[in-house]
Amino acid sequence: MYGHTFSLQRKSQMRGVTQFLKVCFAFVFSGAICFSTQSQVRFLPEESSIVLSASVHDKSAQNSTFSELTKAWRSQPQNLNVALSYARAVFQIGLAEGDLRWFGAAKAAMLPWWKNEDLPADAFFMRGLVKQGFHDFTGGLADINKAIDLNPNKAEFWSWRFAMHLLKTDLEGALQDFESIDRLFGQDESKAYRAILRYRTGDPQTAINLFKTLVSSPNFQSASSKEWLALHLGEAYRVSGQPDLAISTWKKQLKITPRSHIIQLSLAEIWVQEGQYLQVKQMAGSVASTDALLMQYILAYKALKDPAEKNLASLLESRLKSQSLRQEALIERPQMIYFIDYANDPAAGLRLSIENWKIQQEPRDAVLFLKAALALNQPQAAQVVLTWLEKTNYADPQIRELRTRLKTQLQSAQSAK
C-alpha cells in the first residue's frame, strides 16, 4: 500500500542485553557503593512551605476519581475489576507525568494475576501495558495479542499493538493493525493511524493533510483528542522540515494543557535542535522535572553558558547514579543523550545505543545512535540504523544530515582499506 518493503519483527535479544547491562551496572555500583543519604542535608521547612507541588490526589487533575479508586483497591486488592480500574488510573498518571513510579504502582495492582494465563481481555491488556512500560515489549505484545484474540472490538487494544509494532519496526504488523482498525472502527478512526504510518515512512506532507482533516472531525473535539492531534501534527511538521510550524502548533497546545509532559518535551527538544535555548530556559522551573526534560534544560543552559548548568547537571547525574544503584537493565533515553550530547562520552552512548536498538527502534533512538557512531568514527557500528532507514523510508532533517555524514565516513573507511 505504501510502496515499502515490510519485514517481520526481529526476535528479541533481551537476555543478552540484560546480561551485558548487569555487568555494566555492577561496575557502576561498585564505584558508587559509597552513596550517601548524609550528603542530603536535613532541614525543617516552614509549615507553609510547599514540599510537593502537585498531589497525585488533586481532584482538578485529569483523574478526579483517583482517591476513590485508591481506597477501593486498598480495601479489595484481590478483586480483579477493582484492581484493573486502579491500575489503569495509575498507569495513565504515569503516561501523563512520564514517571515510572506509577507504572510500578500499576504492577503492584496487577501482581496477583501477574502469571495467570486465564484472564479476561481487559486484564491481559493492562498487564501488557505495564510490561511494555518496562521495555518488556515481547511479553507486553504477547498479552495484548491475547486481549485482542478475546475481544477484538476494543479500539485501544489495537492502538497499542499498532504502536508497539511501529516501535519494533514491524511495519507489516502495524499495517495489518491499521487495516483492522479501518474495518472495525471506521475511516475517521483509521485516518489517524494512516497519518502516523505516513510520516513514519517518509511521507509527512500527506500526514499533515490527514491530521488537518481530523481537526474538524466531531470525533476529535475532546481535550485529549485535541492534544493528541496537536502533538502529531507538530511532529509531522518537524519531520517534514517545518520546525516553525511545529513550534507554533505545540506552543498553542501548551497554553491549553500547560502540564502536558509530552508537549513540554516536544517543545524543549525542538527548541534545542533549533538553537532557541532561551525559550527552553523560560520553560525550565521545577527540579522535579522528568529526566527527559531536565536533560533538555541542561543542553540549553550549556549552550547559553548559564552557570546554573552545573547544578542541573549534578541533579541529573545524581538521578542516573540512583538508577544505576538499582542495578537494573532499563535503558533510558536521557541517559543516552547525557553521554552523547553532553558528557562527551560517545563510547558509553554507543554501547547503550547498540543495546537499546535491539529492543526498540524509534527515530529519536536512531538520531542518538548515528551521533555516537559519527563521534567515534565508527560508521559500521550504525549500519543497522542505515538499514532501518532504508527499510522504513523514514527521514527528518536531522536524520538526513546525520545519514549523509555517516555514509561519507563509511566511504572514507572503505577507500582507506
Binding site: R15, G16, Q19, S30, G31, I33, C34, F35, T37, Q38, Q40, R42, F43, L44, P45, I50, V51, L52, A54, S55, V56, K59, T70, L95, D99, L100, R101, F103, G104, K107, A108, Q132, H135, K154, A155, E156, S159, W160, A163, E189, N219, S222, S224, S225, W228, L231, H232, H261, I262, S266, A288, D291, S318, R319, Q323, R326, I331, P334, Q360, E362
Partner: protein, 379 residues
C-alpha cells in the same frame, strides 16, 4: 465511537511520540545506619510523592502539599514508618526511639527525612553480626520501588538494595572489619573456583598430561611419569602461571585500568576451555602447557573480576577484598589439585587413564566448551 477513540489517542500519543524510554527515574528511598556521637542512628529518606500516594497529604485540596499538611499526619506516619522499617539484632527487634522528622532535598524532589536513635547497637563494638534491616514500606503500593541501604558504622560498612523479593538485609559475620572482609572474600574466592566449572575444567585439561611423559607418539601411547617430582613440578608450573596471569588481569580490572566487556570475556573463557582440551588431543599449540595457562589465565582473570565486582566491593577495603578473593581462588585451585593428584598418579599407568581420562575427558571438555562458547555468544 468517541470513547474508544479518546483512549486510543492517549495511548498512541505517548507510545509513539515519547515512548516509555523518556520516563522519570523509578522510586527509591535511602536508608542509612550510621553513628552520631555514641549512638547508632537509623535514617530513612522517602520521597513525598510516595508518601502522598499512601496518605493523601493534601488536606486543603489545593492540589499542593505543604510541610504543615505533612506534619498533620505525624501520628499515622510514625506508625507506618516504624512498622515498615525495622532493625533487629539476633532476631530481637531494636527499639527505635526519638523519631525526628525533617525534610531533605534530593535530585528528584523533596523527601521526608526521618531519624531514630537505635539503642540495641554498640556502634563502636566489633560484634554487630546478626544485625538485620527489614524494609517493606512501599512495596505493596509500587512493585518497582527500591530501598538503597547503607550501613556506615565504624567497624561495619556495607550496602544493599532492598526490593519486594528481598525486603531484608542481614549483616553477615564476614562483613565489616578488615579480617572479616578478608574472610568473606576468601570464602567467595574458594566458592567461585569450585562452582566455576569452566575454570575447573580448563585447569584439569592442563593438568591431566602432567602424569605422562611427552613423546612423538599419540597421546594414548605416552608412557607414564615415573618420578613424582616431575609431575609435581609440571603441575606447579601450570598452577603458578595460571595464578600469576589471572592475578594480573583481576587487579587491572578492579583498579579500572582495563575493563573489557563481559560479552567478550565469557565466550573467550569458554574458548580457552576448548583450546586446552583440544591441545591434549592434537598437541597443536606451539606453547607449552604452563604458557597456555598463562595466556588464557589472563582471560580467566577478567572473568574472576566480573564476579568480584558483582559481589560488591568495600571501597575502603578494596585491597583486602581483592587479596582475599585471589587467595581464595588459589586455595580452591590447590584443593582441586590435591584431590586430582593422587588419583591421577594411581591411574597413570592404565589404559583407562589414557583413553577415558585423557581422551574421553578432553573430548567431553572440548564439547562442553563449544556449547558454552555458542551459548555465550549467541544467547
Amino acid at each position: 465511537m468517541l470513547w474508544p477513540c479518546v483512549l486510543l489517542l492517549i495511548a498512541i500519543a505517548i507510545a509513539i511520540a515519547s515512548g516509555s524510554a523518556q520516563a522519570h527515574s523509578s522510586s527509591n528511598s535511602y536508608i542509612t545506619v550510621s553513628r552520631f556521637n555514641e549512638a547508632a542512628v537509623l535514617r530513612a529518606d522517602i520521597n513525598l510523592r510516595d508518601i502522598d500516594l499512601v496518605f493523601d497529604l493534601d488536606q486543603n485540596k489545593d492540589g499542593k502539599v505543604s510541610w504543615g499538611e505533612t506534619l498533620a499526619k505525624t501520628a499515622e506516619l510514625k506508625a507506618w514508618l516504624e512498622q515498615g522499617i525495622q532493625l533487629s539484632t539476633t532476631g530481637q527487634k531494636c527499639a527505635q526511639a526519638q523519631m525526628n522528622i525533617k525534610a531533605s532535598d534530593h535530585a528528584d524532589g523533596t523527601y521526608l527525612s526521618v531519624e531514630w536513635t537505635v539503642a540495641c547497637l554498640d556502634v563502636a563494638g566489633d560484634e554487630l553480626s546478626g544485625l538485620a534491616l527489614r524494609y517493606d514500606l512501599m512495596f505493596d503500593q509500587d512493585n518497582l520501588h527500591r530501598a538503597l541501604v547503607k550501613i556506615d558504622l565504624p567497624n561495619f560498612q556495607s550496602s544493599a538494595i532492598l526490593s519486594p523479593d528481598r525486603p531484608e538485609f542481614t549483616l553477615t559475620k564476614a562483613t565489616g572489619s578488615g579480617l572479616k572482609v578478608l574472610e568473606r572474600y576468601l570464602l567467595e574466592g574458594v566458592w567461585h573456583i569450585w562452582i566455576g566449572i569452566d575454570h575447573v575444567l580448563f585447569l584439569l585439561s592442563l593438568l591431566i598430561l602432567a602424569f605422562l611423559e611427552p613423546s612423538r607418539k599419540s597421546v594414548t601411547q605416552w608412557p607414564a611419569v615415573q618420578n613424582v617430582k616431575t609431575a609435581v613440578l609440571d603441575i606447579l608450573a601450570v598452577v603458578t602461571a595460571f595464578t600469576l596471569a589471572h592475578s594480573i588481569t583481576l587487579g587491572l580490572t578492579i583498579f579500572k585500568w582495563l575493563e573489557p566487556s563481559a560479552d567478550l570475556i565469557e565466550p573467550a573463557i569458554a574458548l580457552s576451555v576448548v583450546a586446552a582440551a583440544l591441545n591434549n588431543l592434537l598437541g597443536w599449540a606451539a606453547l607449552r602447557r604452563w604458557q597456555l595457562a598463562f595466556a588464557f589465565g589472563l582471560v580467566h582473570g577478567f572473568g574472576f573480576a566480573n564476579v568480584l565486582v558483582d559481589l560488591g566491593l568495600p571501597s575502603d577495603q578494596l585491597a583486602i577484598a581483592l587479596g582475599g578473593f585471589n587467595l581464595g581462588v588459589e586455595l580452591g585451585q590447590i584443593a582441586i589439585v590435591l584431590a586430582f593428584l593422587p588419583l591421577a598418579w594411581w591411574l597413570r599407568n592404565t589404559l583407562f587413564y589414557r583413553w577415558v581420562v585423557v581422551v574421553g575427558g578432553s573430548l567431553t571438555i572440548a564439547i562442553l566448551g563449544i556449547i558454552w562458547t555458542v551459548q555465550r555468544t549467541v544467547l
